[in-house]
Structures are given as structure tokens and as C-alpha cells.
């Protein structure tokens, strides 16, 4: 019998999990941290500290600004230098709090011990409140505020909690490391989220290029019949929420819909661990595991990094910036964003820092489309990237709506596979942006 996987499209790029098996380490504290106020999807948080204030580790420095927003905590103890615009990983200047690091003195009441706390007696409402107060967002990269996902909208029922341990991006190993080292904590976290969500069943999906993680998670969850671990065939983009739900349950999230439309809510393992720490240890989300990797990186590592730590600091701790580095990516090679500068901070959604060498950094020359159909074959959403690109080139944005361009998850499989190295996704993004404007204008009328 074949392993589970999603049914449409998909690719299998070289995995390059160089940092697999590296223990989670602390890189220490930098001298200055820069904590952006917009680290999540939704409204940026409202800052509640000012220049000159002294803040403690774990203290709230910005509050949720609306329902789809969340709290942000100081990741260090020190003095607020500035609340100002600082460049973030996008290269744009955005509101952030800069703190001079003095020491690491945590707010009282936070349990810093490593002892596993298995039992919990919190109610569903209490769990949701703690998740909100602790600033937890989806750590898989989408950074959607987690408390929102725990509130099932009226008319929908949550049936399954799905835990995303797929980590299908090449190079990245943060989730893998977390599963190996914090498996018992993760299972407690799963139980907490099941209660917070009000479901009886949870499925943990892990690709079978991580047999050690599958084994250890199976063992850790053995005493709970309600939690099952399902190994998955290695295929990108299986970590995409819609693909994962389909792979595990054969349910297709409708076009434009969310997993809850088919009775499912999905969380990344990083989010589950953060939920465990929040509920059992009273620890807010202010650090995360970040993989620092690349073929020429001296010490590929999985660092438990404080939010706000400069990327350059992490690279230094991984053996320094190799001479031949030409591109630095925040995230993995398929969906990560290339950084234009290295003094930008690690945020809640940063899963890895990938350094590419000169020969990997550039795109190949674009050639004519030979209509080989590879982009159509690999598209996990059943779209026709070659057609969408042509339509976007000709500014036929309204026609793109009928071709379902808004379903594109920007996984990059089409570009990866194109023998003519065509910039398919660049044009699809352009089309999505322009069509988005048209759709919003239509709604406004």
C-alpha cells in the first residue's frame, strides 16, 4: 500500500536537509533586538511602551489591535531605545520596538524549568484566552493568530485537529528538531489544542523522510487513542494546509475556503509547542526554532532564537557569512523571501535562514514556452500556470478570475519545473494583485 499524499500535482526537489539531527541550541542574546509590531496576519499590534521604558522578558510591549491581531512580548530584558520605523525582512520600514539588551530577567510567574507538565485543568475558554494573551500565531509561516482558529465560526463544526509536521520545504529542519526533542511536550500541546478547539480527534502528519520523528511521535502519542500519527509520502507542497488536509482526510477545502469548511483546523508543530509553553508554563511566544543552513554554511544549526534577533547575529553564530554567499533567504528555497539586508530581525514567522552560493543564486535565462505541460502537471491546485502568465502579460486580469488564479498558493512548483525558466509565478502574483483590486472595487460598489 502506498503512503498517503495529496492527489493533484506536486514535485520532489532535492531535500538538502543539511541541519537534520542538529540539536536545538541557544545562540545567546544579541546586544540589540528589534521587535516589529506586524509579525502576524491581521492588524499590527498597538504599542504600549515608550522610549526609555525598562521592559522584562515576557512583558507585553504591544497589544492585540482587534480580533485578528495578537499581543507581542519583549523577548529580552532591557531599555527601549526607540519605537520607530525599522526595515523588516520585506525590506520596507515598519513600526518596531528596539530594545537594548541588558539581561534576561523574566516576568514573574513564568515557569522556566524544563520539567514536563502533563496534566491541565483549564477550560476551553481559558485555553483560548491564554493563546491570545501569549501572542501565539501560526509558526509554519502564515502567522495567522491562533486564537482566531480556535473559535469555530457559526454554522461550522470542527471535527479534526491536524498537526502539520510535514516540513516539506527543502533545507528546513526546525520542526523536525522540535519533534525529536519536544515530543512529549508536543503531545500535551495537541491535547490542549484539542480541548481549545473542542474536537475528539487529532492527526499528526509527518513526511517519511523523517522516520525518527514519526517513530518518536508515535511512541509519545501511544497512550492516546484520539491522537494518530500518519506518515506521508515525500512530496512538495504537502505542508500547504489544503494539500495536507486532502492527503490525510481526502477532503478538499473548497476554492476560496478554509479548512474549517471541511471540519478541520490545522496547526504547525511549532505552534503546538508554543501553546504547550503558554498553557502549562505561562510562557508567552517570544522565541522559536530557526534553522540556519546552506551548502557553504560552516555550522548548520537549529537555533532557539529570541524574536527580534538580527539575522546577521544568527549567521555569525552559525560560523559566519561564507565568502561565496550571494543570496540570503528568510525561509526555505521554495517559498522563502530573499533578504536585501542582514540587519533585519527574526520574527515569529521565521522558520529558517538559508544562505545560497553564487551559483545557486541567479535565475536562468528565460526562453520561449514550449508548451511541455509540466507546469500544469505539477500544479497542486489544478491551475494552468502557462495560461495565467500569458493572461497577466496581456493584462487580462478579469479573465484570470475564471481561471481560478486566486486559488494559487504560490508554492513555486511551476517555476521549479519549467524547462524554459519562465517567471510564471512573478506574473501570477501580478495577476493576483491586479485582480484583487478589481474584486475589492466590485465589492465596494
Amino acid at each position: 500500500m502506498g503512503l498517503l499524499t495529496f492527489s493533484l500535482g506536486g514535485i520532489h526537489p532535492p531535500e538538502n536537509k543539511i541541519s537534520a539531527g542538529k540539536k536545538i541550541e541557544s545562540p545567546g542574546l544579541p546586544e540589540i533586538v528589534t521587535i516589529p509590531l506586524a509579525q502576524h496576519l491581521g492588524a499590527p499590534s498597538k504599542v504600549v511602551v515608550a522610549r526609555g521604558d525598562t521592559v522584562k522578558t515576557g512583558q507585553i510591549i504591544a497589544e492585540a489591535n482587534g480580533f485578528v491581531s495578537t499581543n507581542i512580548h519583549s523577548s529580552v530584558t532591557g531599555k527601549v531605545l526607540k519605537v520607530d520605523l525599522f526595515p523588516d525582512s520585506s525590506g520596507y520600514r515598519r513600526q518596531a520596538v528596539q530594545i537594548q539588551v541588558e539581561e534576561d530577567d523574566w516576568v514573574e510567574g513564568i515557569d522556566l524549568s524544563d520539567t514536563l507538565v502533563k496534566d491541565f485543568d483549564k477550560s476551553q475558554d481559558e485555553i483560548r484566552k491564554i493563546i491570545l494573551n501569549s501572542g501565539i500565531v501560526g509558526l509554519g509561516g502564515a502567522t495567522f493568530p491562533s486564537h482566531v482558529k480556535l473559535m469555530t465560526p457559526k454554522g461550522k463544526t470542527a471535527e479534526y485537529l491536524i498537526i502539520n509536521g510535514v516540513e516539506c520545504e527543502p533545507y528546513l529542519t526546525a520542526d523536525h528538531a522540535l519533534m525529536l526533542e519536544k515530543h512529549d511536550e508536543l503531545i500535551v500541546g495537541v491535547r490542549i489544542l484539542m480541548k481549545g478547539l473542542g474536537v475528539e480527534k487529532a492527526i499528526i502528519g509527518i513526511e517519511n523522510n523523517k522516520p525518527d520523528a514519526i517513530k518518536i511521535m508515535e511512541k509519545a502519542s501511544a497512550e492516546f487513542d484520539s491522537i494518530v500519527v500518519k506518515p506521508l509520502k515525500v512530496q512538495y507542497p504537502q505542508g500547504g494546509e489544503k494539500q495536507l488536509v486532502q492527503a490525510l482526510l481526502k477532503r478538499e477545502v473548497p476554492s476560496g475556503g478554509l479548512p474549517i469548511d471541511v471540519g478541520v483546523v490545522a496547526f504547525n508543530v511549532g505552534t503546538v509547542y508554543a501553546s504547550y509553553l503558554a498553557v502549562q508554563k505561562n510562557r508567552p511566544l517570544l522565541e522559536r526554532v530557526v534553522t540556519v543552513t546552506g551548502k557553504s554554511v560552516k555550522k548548520p544549526s537549529n537555533f532557539l532564537t529570541r524574536v527580534g534577533t538580527p539575522v546577521s547575529y544568527l549567521i555569525e553564530k552559525a560560523g559566519g557569512l561564507p565568502e561565496d554567499t550571494a543570496k540570503v533567504i528568510n525561509g526555505g528555497p521554495m517559498m522563502g523571501k530573499a533578504l536585501s539586508r542582514l540587519d533585519v530581525p527574526i520574527v515569529k514567522g521565521s522558520s529558517g535562514i538559508l544562505l545560497l552560493m553564487e551559483e545557486e543564486a541567479y535565475r536562468k535565462e528565460t526562453q520561449s514556452c514550449i508548451r511541455c505541460t509540466k507546469c500544469v502537471t505539477v500544479c497542486p491546485m489544478g491551475l494552468e500556470p502557462y495560461l495565467l502568465m500569458t493572461q497577466a502579460e496581456k493584462a487580462m486580469y478579469e479573465e484570470m478570475e475564471g481561471e481560478k488564479v486566486m486559488d494559487c498558493i504560490e508554492c513555486g512548483s511551476c517555476v521549479y519545473t519549467c524547462p524554459s525558466s519562465r517567471p510564471l509565478l512573478d506574473y501570477i502574483r501580478l495577476g493576483k494583485g491586479e485582480l484583487g483590486k478589481i474584486l475589492r472595487a466590485r465589492k465596494a460598489v
Partner: protein
């Protein structure tokens, strides 16, 4: 440190490239070329070399002096067109006719539409059909196998398909079959026919290679062959003395060459699997209609060109299965 390279994701690319795909197809043609050289000798080398060289040269000249674009003759597609054109010609065709075929294939079939990726019709077939209509005698006299050192002076005869067409209706099929090579000879390519179409076994090896290297999928070739087998099979079951059996149709003429190499041409075939199947079924049907009921003994070339014309329409209306159309609760 140096400036950082910034570009949108993805940052990883597969090793695929256009020349790599083209050379993959050429490699798969080697067995067919080898068998053809074995049976038709030196003339095959002449025809193929002239066809390939003139296709590349015409592409280069047109690109450089008429379109004034970047030279594209190195991407391998012109070499492939040249090989495929040669494969559809009789081995004793004079050089000057081959050159005209190459000019029409590249000039009319490909470059008038804007070069690689933009042509509607398969360039090699455009060249072949032009020659077929312009030089009907030269294009329908075929050298008998095993005259390895002869070229235009070779003894000639008719292909099995032509013999069948000639005799059908006048005498029973079983009698016509007695005049033709046996199925084993047909399978290994010992019969009269175009350079690259005779050896079924070599073409099937090529097909397996193409499928193994994932250069093409099974949809087009298998569907065409299956359609031909089913259609001719029905006719044959109705009256085996009036219609040839399916195996005869599979092994003779350009069916295998067309189904494996011409109909699967990326540029001129549909973009979705469903589209490919519809396209292939019609190629199969039209081929049999022409062979059995039409004026010509062979119909593959016309079937493919006709269906090439429908490809834009198929691409417009046949869409892949989209993700998330229907909501299933299980």
C-alpha cells in the same frame, strides 16, 4: 561583503532545460535510425544529414536576417525537426527535394508563426505534406530494403499500405497479405517505407525511453494506438476479408512514428491530459478513416495536422481538474 541577490521565490530550479528535452528525444530516435541504416544503408545517412543541416541552417538564417532575433538554432529543436522530417521521407529522395522540405518545415511550419513554441502545426509534418503534394511520384516510390550502397538508383516498390489500398475491394485481404512481408519482418522493419517509420520494435524502444525519462506521458501515443486497434478491430471482426487486421495497421505506415513522435510534439499538442486523450482519439479515428475509406493509403500525417488545428480550441475548453471544486464529507 557583496550586494545580495534579491528575487521573488522560488529560489530553487530543477535541472530541466529545453535542449535537454530535445536531446532526450533525439537519443530515443537512435534505435530507429540504426535499424534504418541497417536496411537502407548509406542513403539514410545522406537524407538525415541533409535534412538536419538544412533545418539548422534555415533556422539560423531566418532568425538572424529576417526576424533579427536571438539565434535559437542551438536549442536543439531544429535538429530534432530535421531528424523527424528525414524519418518521414523515402530513403531514395534526391537531396534537393529534402532541402526544399526543410525550408518549408522551418520557414513555413515554424518561423512564420514566431519560432519555437508558437507554431500551430508540427513543422516536420508541414514539410513532409508539402513534399508529398508537390512531388507525388518521388514521395511514393520506396527503396526495397538491403540495397545498402544505393541511393537514388535503388530498386523501388510500394509500401504494404499502398499494396493493401490498391487491392482492397478487388481481392480478399488474405490474398493481398500473401504478397506482403510477414508480420515478423514488418516488426523489425524489413519492408518498404519511410526512413524512420519501418521498424516497429525500434520505435517502441524509443517510446519506452521517452516514458522512462518522463519526456512524454502515455496519454497521446497509447490512446492513438488503442483507438486504431479498436476501430480497425471492429471493421476486421465485421469482415476479415474486406478489412486488414489491427496488427497490420499498427505495424505499417507511419502510425507508430506519428503516434510516438509527431502527435506528442509539445508545442502542437494539448496542455491537459483530458485534452490529450480527446486529441489522440480523433487522430486515431481520422487515420483509420483515411486509410480504409479515403483516397490515400496513409492518413497519419493528415490526421495529426488536422488535430493540431483543434489544439487551441481544446486548450480553451478542456480544463484540468481544479482543486477544491466539490466539498466531500467523508
Amino acid at each position: 561583503m557583496n550586494k545580495l541577490v534579491v528575487s521573488p521565490s522560488p529560489h530553487a530550479r530543477s535541472a530541466e532545460s529545453v535542449p535537454k528535452l530535445m536531446y532526450g528525444v533525439m537519443i530515443s530516435l537512435i534505435p530507429a535510425l540504426g535499424v534504418s541504416i541497417y536496411f537502407f544503408g548509406i542513403s539514410v545517412l545522406i537524407i538525415t544529414a541533409v535534412s538536419v543541416l538544412s533545418c539548422v541552417l534555415f533556422e539560423f538564417l531566418i532568425q538572424k536576417y529576417m526576424l533579427k532575433g536571438k539565434p535559437s538554432h542551438k536549442d536543439g529543436s531544429a535538429i530534432l525537426t530535421g531528424m523527424l522530417l528525414a524519418f518521414t521521407l523515402p530513403a531514395n529522395l534526391p537531396v534537393w527535394i529534402v532541402i526544399i522540405g526543410a525550408l518549408v518545415a522551418i520557414g513555413v511550419g515554424k518561423m512564420t508563426f514566431g519560432g519555437l513554441g508558437n507554431n500551430i502545426f508540427n513543422p516536420a509534418l508541414v514539410g513532409r505534406v508539402f513534399l508529398f503534394i508537390s512531388f507525388p511520384v518521388a514521395m511514393t516510390s520506396w527503396p526495397e530494403p538491403l540495397q545498402r550502397l544505393k541511393y537514388i538508383n535503388a530498386e523501388t516498390g510500394a509500401t504494404p499500405l499502398a499494396v493493401m489500398k490498391e487491392g482492397m475491394g478487388k481481392q480478399p485481404v488474405s490474398e493481398i497479405m500473401n504478397e506482403l512481408p510477414g508480420y515478423l519482418d514488418m516488426f523489425i522493419g524489413k519492408m518498404m517505407g519511410s526512413v524512420g517509420e519501418v521498424a516497429a520494435i525500434a520505435l517502441l524502444i524509443g517510446l519506452i525511453y521517452l516514458l522512462w525519462k518522463k519526456i512524454i506521458t502515455w496519454h497521446i501515443p497509447v490512446t492513438i494506438l488503442a483507438t486504431v486497434v479498436v476501430f480497425t478491430g471492429i471493421l476486421w471482426l465485421i469482415d476479415p476479408e474486406s478489412y486488414a487486421d489491427p496488427l497490420f495497421h499498427l505495424l505499417t505506415g507511419g502510425l507508430l512514428l506519428g503516434a510516438i513522435y509527431m502527435a506528442t510534439d509539445y508545442v502542437t499538442s494539448p496542455m491537459t491530459k483530458k485534452g490529450m486523450i480527446i486529441y489522440a482519439i480523433f487522430i486515431g479515428i481520422i487515420t483509420v478513416l483515411i486509410r480504409v475509406f479515403g483516397a490515400y493509403p496513409e492518413g497519419v500525417q493528415f490526421a495529426i495536422l488536422i488535430m493540431n488545428a483543434f489544439v487551441p480550441l481544446l486548450n480553451k475548453y478542456i480544463k484540468p481538474k481544479r482543486f477544491g471544486k466539490e466539498v466531500k464529507h467523508g
